[in-house]
């Protein structure tokens, strides 16, 4: 490289200094550096690279990976409409269009005065109070046309966000059904005291007896994970709480972090006690950045109370503290090895396994990665014992599960049930009627049709990380599947061929069908892509990406067949559509500006 970059300006210098010029803090530095101008100009990347001693290309590579990092200017008011299927069902597209019209800006563009940009983003975890948006990182739910009008006015007046009506930013917990966890009223430190009294071995034995399995999706036995990390060679072990919660339709971790953060942090400390870890990270998805101040406050309180830091609860050698790391808009970072890469300040690309995180995790150290809910549940086990916990739920699924319920029902929100509850019971409790289908476990999960509503939530029947989206008889299941396919294509990390190209191809096929150009041959190609994605993908994102299509093709095939033109093959290319841009430029839409592509059309 030729000339040295000029010294960073003072605000950037302060950020770099605060992070000790540590290259593994790169992502955190980029997130904070972006707050200076709202985006990351090229010279800033050069300066950050030089200050951290990293190749510039590596910094560019990280900045280019995350949806919430921008390499070109965005509006001073940056509006992102949540675009989960539940937001769509509540009319988010019409609201987006309305806001764009009122502010004279096109979607995905910046207004000419640089005031505002409006775009969509993957599910922001407010499905129970949608349609939702993020504005400069702060969440607003329950959008409607009135609110959109007001927001347009506030933006036009360039009113700072702190002066906007506070009720906009009020996020409800919507806890509708409480069971063991949500009923628990625990003094901070009580679970920890019980576990420390049992000794590390005794506490692990209690965990073993509890049969607790991970609530993040895979259902791995938590005690086995903790014991493996404990037995792994190496010092400076790590506990990571996975608060990436990117699965569309899931929001229970948001509620846990909002209302029982102490349980979550206490669970992390309990894991540290068992595994012998000395550092902890909460990996908080960028969409939940607004929770950070209150979470930092809880951490500070716990430090003062001797529940974090050196010699926790007076126990010599029990040293543990927790740092919050932010994500920046990447669903794949919920996958535990991608999460570790991201924690190290890299692109969120899933690692090759083995080795597994319990032996080689964060910076090569033995690392426990657990879901928010899993960790919170360990408090129950410390307080009431493993056997009591194991006695609830079903044979292979001990304890309770938090469900995030959204979609077509009277009372969306958080429901805590013992494992084994039937779909029908849940539907009844939340006031759903005329239910056509339920998507359990999010986009990556399973789509259940009415004939399956006697099935039960449990690892041995319908496993779930917690999403529960309801679709009534008026909904088109093809649209649901298409939305999820778009989600996966947008979120593919791009590392492996099948997922990078396969999700984009699948999106193309679903759009082709949607546009009325589908043929029987396409359904065969879709089948084949589904199989390849499932078999050959590097991580769970790619292998789950075809799930919504596989399920709906099997259970709601007419929704697809309705869209086929009855040909064996039909090109995806539409000559007339290709002229759309020319029509827009010339402001023409008369018959002469259209081509007739179908013989039928011509008749």
């Amino acid at each position: 490289m030729s000339a040295l970059p000029p010294n960073p300006a003072a605000p950037l210098q302060a950020i770099l200094r605060r992070h000790g010029h540590d290259p593994s803090a790169l992502l955190q530095i980029l997130i904070e550096a972006q707050d200076i101008d709202g985006w990351l100009p090229a010279p800033a990347l050069t300066q950050i690279a030089a200050a951290l001693g990293l190749p510039r290309a590596r910094v560019e590579g990280v900045a280019g990976f995350y949806s919430f990092l921008y390499d070109r200017p965005v509006g001073r008011y940056r509006v992102l409409f949540s675009d989960n299927i539940t937001d769509r069902m509540l009319g988010n597209r019409a609201l987006l269009d309305a806001l764009c019209r009122k502010l004279w800006v096109e979607p995905d563009k910046v207004s000419e005065d640089g005031l505002v940009s409006i775009a969509t983003t993957s599910c922001t975890g407010l499905c129970d109070q949608g349609p939702a948006m993020l504005i400069n990182g702060r969440a607003i739910g329950q959008l409607n046309h009135r609110r959109i009008n007001e927001i347009a006015e506030l933006i036009r007046q360039q009113r700072p966000l702190d002066q906007w009506p506070a009720e906009y930013f009020h996020i409800d917990d919507n806890i509708r059904r409480r069971d063991a966890l949500l009923q628990l009223d625990m003094l901070p430190g009580a679970a920890l005291a019980a576990a420390v009294a049992r000794g590390r071995e005794g506490w692990l034995a209690e965990m073993q007896a509890s049969n607790l399995r991970g609530r993040g999706g895979a259902g791995f036995a938590t005690a086995v994970k903790w014991a493996s990390a404990r037995n792994a060679a190496g010092t400076r072990k790590v506990v990571v709480c996975n608060a990436d919660e990117g699965e569309p339709g899931t929001f229970k971790d948001r509620v846990l972090l909002n209302t029982c953060a102490d349980l979550v942090f206490e669970g992390m400390t309990l894991a540290a006690w068992a595994a012998g870890a000395d550092s902890g990270f909460l990996y908080l998805r960028g969409e939940y950045r607004y929770l950070r101040p209150q979470l930092e406050a809880v951490l500070a309180r716990r430090r003062t109370a001797g529940l974090l830091g050196k010699g926790i609860l007076g126990e010599a050698g029990f040293d543990f503290d927790i740092t919050i790391h932010l994500g920046a808009g990447a669903y794949v970072c919920g996958e535990e090895t991608a999460l570790l890469e991201s924690l190290e300040g890299k692109r969120g690309t899933p690692r090759i396994r083995p080795p597994f995180p319990v032996t080689h995790g964060y910076l090569g150290r033995p690392t426990v990665v657990n879901n928010v809910e899993t960790l919170a549940k360990t408090c129950l086990i410390a307080l009431e014992g493993g056997a009591a916990f194991a006695a609830t739920g079903t044979a292979q699924s001990a304890g309770t599960k938090l469900l995030s319920i959204s979609g077509d029902c009277a009372a969306p929100g958080i429901y805590e049930y013992p494992f084994g509850v039937s779909i029908a019971r849940i539907l009844e409790d939340c006031g759903a009627s005329d239910t056509q289908a339920v998507q359990v476990g999010g986009a990556a999960g399973i789509c259940l049709a009415a004939y399956e509503f006697q099935r039960r939530i449990a690892y041995e029947d319908v496993p779930t990380a917690g999403a529960f989206m309801i679709f009534d008889g008026s909904r088109d299941l093809f649209e649901v599947a298409r939305a999820f396919v778009h989600f996966f294509a947008h979120e593919s990390c791009g590392f492996c061929t099948p997922c990078r190209v396969g999700t984009a191809l699948l999106r193309g096929f679903m759009d082709k069908l949607n546009d009325g150009h589908g043929a029987k041959a396409d359904l065969a190609d879709i089948d084949w892509l589904d199989r390849l994605l499932k078999n050959a993908s590097h991580c769970g994102l790619g292998s789950a990406a075809p799930n919504p299509v596989i399920d709906t093709l099997q259970k709601f095939r007419p929704a697809y067949e309705r869209r086929l033109v009855s040909l064996d093959f039909e090109p995806a290319f539409d000559l007339d559509a290709a002229l759309a841009e020319a029509r827009q430029l010339t402001a023409r839409d008369d018959p002469g500006a259209h081509l007739q592509t179908h013989e039928e059309d011509g008749r």
């Binding site: 190749p55 590579g61 280019g64 090759i352 791009g494 061929t497 990078r500």
Partner: protein
């Protein structure tokens, strides 16, 4: 010595060896694109996909296990490989007849090996301008398959980190280590290992174009299978 079965044939291996390495050493070909014997496994292209004990795994990144039954040269696995190749072809812009790498290109050679007759899927036709700013080397990004061999060679052998990937998903792309984005503004040299390691036609020497005539190139006379197994012996 420990061994596993590859398509019914015993393959000996040492602890820690991958399925792919052990197979190649024993004279059995499993295809690869992102794997290179001098670097740790990357596991991205998935051409080496095999079925081990009934599960799909990347042969380059999976340590061999005693007694495993591994399926590789089956119609099922070869069909999946062909589809992966088709994906790589439609993702970029590959006009082999006008490509300087034609005949020496591993992607093209694998297309022949796995009897890829059509591209099957819709072409993406991405817009990826070439970079001719360097005096000795041309970058034609249209053909990149993201194996990261140049990234790894430049970083780990040349000590320069000239290349990196940015973007995500189908928008992932290669960038060079300069604020201008131009290779000419980096410390890249034609003598770097990274200048020689690209399996396809992205990183090309300027000047001696088509020095070896088409017809006499590496994979013109022999298949990539034969060539790779020969390299293994030497």
């Amino acid at each position: 010595m420990k061994q596993f079965l590859l398509d019914g044939q015993p393959v000996p291996f040492e602890d820690g060896q991958s399925i792919l390495e052990a197979a190649r050493q024993a004279g059995h070909y499993i295809p690869s694109l992102c794997w290179h014997k001098d670097f740790p496994a990357h596991g991205s292209c998935k051409l080496c996909i095999v079925k081990a004990a009934g599960r799909h795994v990347s042969a380059c990144a999976t340590p061999a296990k005693e007694g495993w039954e591994v399926e590789s040269a089956t119609p099922e696995m070869n069909g999946e490989r062909r589809a992966l190749l088709q994906m790589l072809f439609v993702e970029g812009n590959h006009f082999c007849p006008s490509c300087e790498k034609s005949g020496n290109c591993e992607l093209q050679a694998l297309g022949y090996e796995y009897e890829m007759l059509t591209s099957r899927f819709r072409h993406f036709y991405p817009d990826r301008p070439v970079d001719a700013s360097h005096p000795d080397v041309l970058l034609d990004f249209n053909r990149c398959i993201f194996c990261e061999l140049c990234v790894r060679a430049s970083r780990d052998v040349d000590g320069k980190a000239v290349f990196a990937l940015t973007g995500r998903g189908i928008n992932k792309h290669l960038v060079v280590n300069a604020e201008s984005g131009r290779l000419g503004d980096t410390d890249f040299s034609k003598d770097d290992l990274a200048a020689r390691i690209c399996p396809v036609g992205v990183i090309l020497r300027k000047g001696p174009g088509f020095a070896v005539p088409i017809g006499e190139r590496t994979y013109d006379g022999q298949s990539i299978r034969e060539q790779k197994l020969k390299e293994e012996e030497s």
